[in-house]
Symmetry: C2
Subunit: 368 residues, 2 copies
């Protein structure tokens, strides 16, 4: 122990957090993250051809699931997990046994802050998750729990305890997360602005949640972090994280939990093809004009005291109110129910050993 370099990065919550990575390629990007991720456990969800071997750099502790593993573990319920879309990442949330999740895309690298220091994105997410959120009133100096900041004059004292933070949504330097039309119109736009702030998205306000650089408290909100039916065989793509974000925000608002956005930044290296994206997105761009008002006005009954109950109730509303737009939403509403069934099956105390066994099996069969 004493031979370890003093500069070794402290790894908070290392036994309570899984890093979930959806991928179709070798995970060389992990080399850059090594100082920050090496002490954590990774859950890799391999999308696409299960016969392909994904190379993971030496020294990382991981389990890997391909489509065969997903089908084997979930059986008929595997239908709720998307194929050929990064929406498959939510399978990692399902099989994790940890309290916290950080999920990151494999084209995201370590960004630098304005002083030139490498940003430990995971440490910032953990800080965000472990300090309260302020969804009920806006603090003009941003995060009041941050060193050197506080609640400003006029902030009600009864609200200064805040609310438990369920979600920490991080941002991106370099390639911004634009939709296909904006990509097409502004192909050269890069995000160079480092905004040194974390803020709570107020209660009652929806936001576009991006899955590229996202952390959450799995115990508080995990069961709502379902990324929907996207990609192969579905009429829509690139709305997986948006769907999860809308559902999550409605449920965190209902349950009195907080959602933060802002720091940390990662370096997003490569824009995806805008023409391909347009094909995936066009239904979503059209449908969201009705979906957003639906979520803005969705009210859950008081009896929904858990995430699962809230989510099942929301699935009924989706079927009733969005079903008429397109049969896809009826299928999606059914998949939401299947997801909760799978969640409860893998996450109830009684069957935990079974799930663990499945994980070990998958892990040993896939690990290099």
């Amino acid at each position: 122990m004493s031979t370890k370099p003093a500069s070794k990065v402290v790894a908070p919550l290392k036994d309570e957090l899984d890093i979930v990575i959806p991928t179709i390629r070798n995970l060389d990007f992990l080399e850059m993250w090594r100082p920050f991720f090496e002490q954590y456990h990774l859950i890799i969800v391999q999308d696409g051809d299960p016969s392909k071997t994904i190379r993971v750099p030496e020294g990382f502790d991981y389990e890997l699931y391909n489509r065969n593993d997903i089908n084997r573990i979930l059986g008929p319920k595997a239908s709720c997990i998307s194929f050929k879309d990064s929406a498959c990442r939510c399978f990692g949330f399902l099989v994790s046994k940890k309290k916290y999740i950080f999920t990151i895309d494999d084209d995201c690298f370590v960004a630098k802050d304005p002083s030139g220091q490498d940003i430990n994105a995971l440490a910032q997410h953990i800080h965000n998750l472990l300090t309260p959120a302020t969804p009920f009133f806006f603090n003009t100096l941003y995060d009041p729990y941050r060193e050197g900041a506080d609640f400003v004059r006029g902030y009600p004292f009864s609200l200064r305890e805040g609310a438990p933070t369920a979600v920490s949504h991080g941002l991106w330097l370099n390639i911004p997360d634009y939709d296909a039309p904006t990509q097409l119109v502004k192909p050269r736009e890069r995000n160079t602005r480092y905004v040194d702030a974390v803020l709570t998205i107020p209660k009652g306000t929806l936001f576009p949640m991006c899955g590229m650089n996202l952390a959450f408290n799995r115990e508080l909100i995990g069961a709502a972090m379902y990324f929907g039916l996207m990609g192969d065989g579905q009429p829509i793509g690139r709305y997986d994280d948006m769907w999860a974000g809308w559902c999550t925000k409605v449920i965190t608002d209902h349950l009195g939990l907080g959602v933060k956005t802002g720091l940390p930044y990662i370096w997003h290296s490569k824009a995806s093809n805008p023409f391909v994206n347009l094909k995936k997105e066009y239904n979503g761009i059209y449908w969201q004009e009705e979906i957003i008002p639906f979520f803005q006005s969705a009210v859950l009954p008081k009896e929904c005291t858990t995430v699962q109950k809230s989510y099942i109730e929301l699935s009924k509303l989706v079927k009733e109110k969005l079903g008429p737009i397109d049969p896809y939403f009826q299928k999606l509403a059914d998949a939401m129910v299947t997801w909760i069934e799978a969640w409860d099956e893998l996450n109830s105390a009684a069957v935990a050993p079974v799930a663990d066994a499945a994980k070990k099996d998958a892990s040993s069969s896939s690990k290099k």
Copy 2:
């Protein structure tokens, strides 16, 4: 004209904006603002002893009103303008004939951005006011109308036109705007964090509006910018801007207008005395625990299609719902009505010449 230096600061909207300054002392602080303010018209509201002479640096174009002027111009309606409290600044909003107002305290100086450049706070406010706000959905990359930014993936296209911006709320480096208890607990805390962002406070969310560094569109929201009854003879102080902020936010939300906060920063030089502040604030600290839920749940009827109608309706709700807390709120509700009467009297087209004459008179009698 050609002899003017090329570096002269461009003064946008210089014929459409008044700078309102409440004060009890000589306005030497204007020297530092000279490059940015010199081409604008100032409205100085002298608080306290009207026999005192306020010195204004040479070269500024201004009109000055003391308590005698206020009493003469408003007659019995002068009762709605506070005395011995910076709440008196709203008299300046009342007598202005311009479309935009910027109001600043006389202990606020020019701040520097991280590159060491002087910040032209007024120019940033004008930029904020002239670009739309986004109150209906949160944009994670902050102001989408800023150079180098846009709406992110998942932002509904139908909402990208935004809403007219009614208010631009600026922040403070150095001395943060804390209440007395926080001042007492953290006497040495300074705000050193420059957050390079402007954002819209979402619809339905209240915020603590500080009057130190504030701009607004007088045509859109001026009639709601009433700073209440504070100071001399009142059981409360230092809640003038908070009151205006709560009322303003409820009405902008009702009318589909936007409120922005963030840039620009000013340099706040001096903390006020926390013991004096505590005496002024203690009722407000107690009462706001009921006031905030009141404003959070206040709903204005559809028939209120103007700021004036909305404000009168709000005054009725104040009397009905807050009146039982303390007789003060009944007096305040009446003052709200008086304010609107005064506003309509001074701002209707028919009587504009009268108001102008009064202003000229006040101006010539007070100008150095």
